[in-house]
């Protein structure tokens, strides 16, 4: 190809602050502009659609003045699992361990939590049936559930060098099928009259609500973000995770135990996803039923990457992507557009963020090609 202009990429050592901030914002705006084209082609007015997404996700000014914050609170409800799965993915991705299995780990956390709520009171009746005993117990067991599920790919990678992308993906399917088997089979509510789901959890296992449907799970998610931030920035473990991700060779010479750290990271990652399973079952559905595996584990990948794997940003991005989901549901109700448009937009945003990143990592130079010289490089 002989274009009159030549574009070269020069690696930046350090990007100016303004670039670091501006690039993701512009990328998202471009993604939304592209989304507007798709909406227009699909026969919907893009401006109206975006307006609907905004009011669907955040409510309107008049509603706020009436003290009505239902829309925002629903967006916060959806934010909680996304913060946790975003953190789960970030912990693993920071080491370049490609844990695509947060979805399955979340489901396993939910299944384990459900077991505690449904069967533990019967198995060990002696445990005081109060919130303060049962909730921490469920949370810990859910974390263990997610971690156990994450340990399978972790061991396979650490000791047998089996590709973790494939194993984590496959375990998602296995986890989801297991959970569907449970609530339609052995754990099905005997009094459910054909309704596919487990019995309702006893009330002493319900996460208390703060406002609307927002539960204590929000506090848990924010606390998890702080903990992950502390681990990343202020512990030896965090340093070793980052070193393994950036330069495994250097990490080996620095004496980092590769197998050990893979296992620790995946316990942490799976545990965080498992915790999301806890907040969703104990906080929202109060039973095991369809709707636990709705893609939060996959959206967590987008959350983590768009937030550049930084815990603080994960909270912000989780909130914004949640708004896209909740607003997208609104589109389905008011404009008859499929709710899956939300998932498409999120994928688009990730693609544009990925593409835009070239401006952060490289100095893009466009130079007029000297007329006579055709040979390059």
């Amino acid at each position: 190809m002989n274009l009159p202009y030549r574009v070269t990429l020069e690696k930046r050592l350090d990007a100016p602050r303004i670039v670091v901030w501006l690039v993701p914002v512009v990328s998202i705006l471009v993604a939304l502009a592209f989304g507007a084209i798709v909406l227009a082609v699909a026969g919907a007015d893009p401006l109206e659609a975006y307006g609907q997404i905004l009011t669907g996700a955040f409510g309107s000014l008049t509603a706020w003045l009436d003290g009505e914050f239902y829309a925002v609170s629903e967006t916060v409800v959806r934010t909680v699992p996304l913060i946790l799965t975003g953190l789960a993915v970030a912990v693993a991705f920071r080491m370049r361990f490609w844990n695509i299995g947060a979805e399955g780990q979340l489901v396993f956390g939910g299944v384990f939590a459900a077991w505690v709520a449904l069967f533990l009171p019967g198995v060990i009746p002696g445990i005081p049936q109060t919130l303060w005993v049962y909730l921490p117990l469920m949370a810990v067991v859910a974390v263990a559930g997610g971690a156990i599920w994450a340990l399978i790919p972790a061991f396979l990678k650490a000791y047998l060098d089996v590709d973790e992308i494939i194993t984590t993906i496959m375990l998602n399917f296995v986890a989801i099928l297991t959970y569907q088997y449970l609530f339609t089979g052995p754990w099905k509510d005997p009094e459910g009259q054909g309704f596919p789901g487990s019995a309702l959890f006893p009330e002493f296992t319900w996460l208390p609500r703060l406002t609307g449907r927002v539960t204590l799970g929000l506090v848990l998610a924010l606390a998890a973000a702080v903990v992950v931030w502390l681990i990343f920035d202020h512990t030896k473990l965090g340093y070793e995770i980052a070193l393994m991700g950036e330069n495994p060779e250097a990490a080996r010479y620095a004496g980092v135990n590769r197998a050990g750290i893979i296992i620790v990271v995946m316990v942490l990652s799976g545990g965080l996803a498992g915790l999301a399973g806890f907040t969703e079952t104990a906080g929202i559905s109060h039973r095991l039923q369809q709707g636990l595996a709705i893609g939060n584990g996959f959206t967590g990948i987008i959350v983590a990457w768009v937030a550049k794997l930084r815990p603080g940003w994960i909270v912000v991005v989780a909130f914004l992507l949640s708004a896209l989901f909740v607003g997208g549901d609104q589109l389905q109700i008011s404009m008859g557009l499929p709710a899956s448009i939300g998932a498409f937009f999120q994928g688009m945003i990730l693609l544009f963020i990925l593409g835009g990143d070239v401006f952060t990592r490289y100095r893009v130079k466009v130079a007029r090609r000297p007329a006579a010289v055709a040979v390059e490089g």
Partner: protein, 316 residues
């Protein structure tokens, strides 16, 4: 038909889409590009192929459209990872996520007059019995009583193998995947080769999707691919980047599908969800075995430059 014959016949039928997708991904990965968007390209291929077939009344048009859509999505991945040097793992995942969302969106829009495609009946590929050959015991009904897309594989797989192993373009392709610096020095256009085979891989993933929506399970339902794209990615490792072995792997997985059907048809007491787990668990088991086996032989066929961006200015 006896048991073995019928299982083999279903195995071939069920494995066809896996062969398309994994041979395509083998070509892509041989050029050094890891495209984890197979599932997304496959499901987009499936929905657009079915929509085009319904609109045109012709299943062949569907395959062409599905293949082109798969190829176009692959070009997005190519642009991001080859030109903009974005992370290949994340870009492929993004493609799968965006493709899945877009496919279910389109599935509710692409029917005649903007109607949903779900539940619609359209043109499909039907089995064509090849006289003579189909009379061979066992193999005959399994391999020569299939649809046109399966027969096309009898051509595609040997061609892909021949291209890789015996031709100059195939040598260039492997060189680019093993050592792009050297390939560049030899005068091979690394970027062009990578773009080309990423596109080819996408086309084949799209055709794989088309086989699902036009032959295997004719019609469109949400989540039609059900992780087959990921199984295809796993098959690439199973096949150690050799198209011939991908066929063996795909038959194995098709065989599991067949046994699953068989058990369900005979009214087994094993719950369906447990039966449905079999292909996924098998994928993990096979991957573990292959990884062990290959590391003992010290011959893992992964292209050396797989997943790494190539940058002319940064010589290493």
């Amino acid at each position: 038909m006896d048991l073995l014959t019928s299982i083999l016949a279903i195995a071939v039928f069920a494995g066809a889409s896996l062969v398309y997708a994994s041979v395509g991904e083998i070509l892509t990965e041989r050029s050094g590009i890891l495209n984890l968007g197979v599932e997304g390209m496959m499901i987009m291929g499936a929905v657009t192929a079915f929509a085009a077939a319904v609109a045109s009344g012709n299943a062949v048009v569907g395959v062409v459209v599905g293949g082109l859509v798969g190829g176009m999505l692959a070009l997005v991945h190519a642009f991001l990872t080859i030109t903009l040097r974005a992370d290949q793992v994340v870009s492929g995942l993004a493609l799968t996520l965006a493709g899945g969302g877009l496919a279910s969106f389109l599935g509710q829009r692409l029917g005649p007059g903007g109607a949903p495609l779900v539940g619609m009946v359209g043109p499909r590929f039907r089995a064509i019995t090849i006289p003579g050959l189909s009379d061979i015991p066992v193999i005959g009904p399994a391999f020569f009583d299939q649809d046109a897309l399966v027969y096309l594989l009898f051509l595609v797989v040997p061609l892909a193998w021949f291209l890789l192993a015996r031709t100059r373009p195939g040598l260039y392709l492997r060189a680019v995947g093993e050592n792009p610096q050297t390939a560049d020095a030899m005068g091979i256009d690394v970027f062009q080769v990578r773009y080309l085979y990423t596109f080819v891989g996408g086309v084949m993933a799209g055709v794989a999707g088309a086989h699902l929506s036009l032959a295997y399970t004719p019609g469109w339902t949400e989540n039609l691919t059900g992780g087959r794209g990921w199984i295809a990615v796993a098959l690439v490792i199973f096949a150690t980047w050799d198209p011939r072995k991908a066929v063996a792997g795909a038959l194995l997985f098709g065989g599991v599908n067949a046994i699953q059907f068989r058990l369900q048809a005979e009214g087994t007491t094993i719950p369906a969800s447990l039966l449905n787990m079999m292909p996924y668990i098998l994928t993990i088991v096979v991957l573990v075995v292959i990884t062990r086996f290959e590391s003992i032989r010290k011959k893992v066929g992964a292209p050396a430059a797989l997943g790494l961006p190539y940058n002319r200015e940064e010589r290493t």
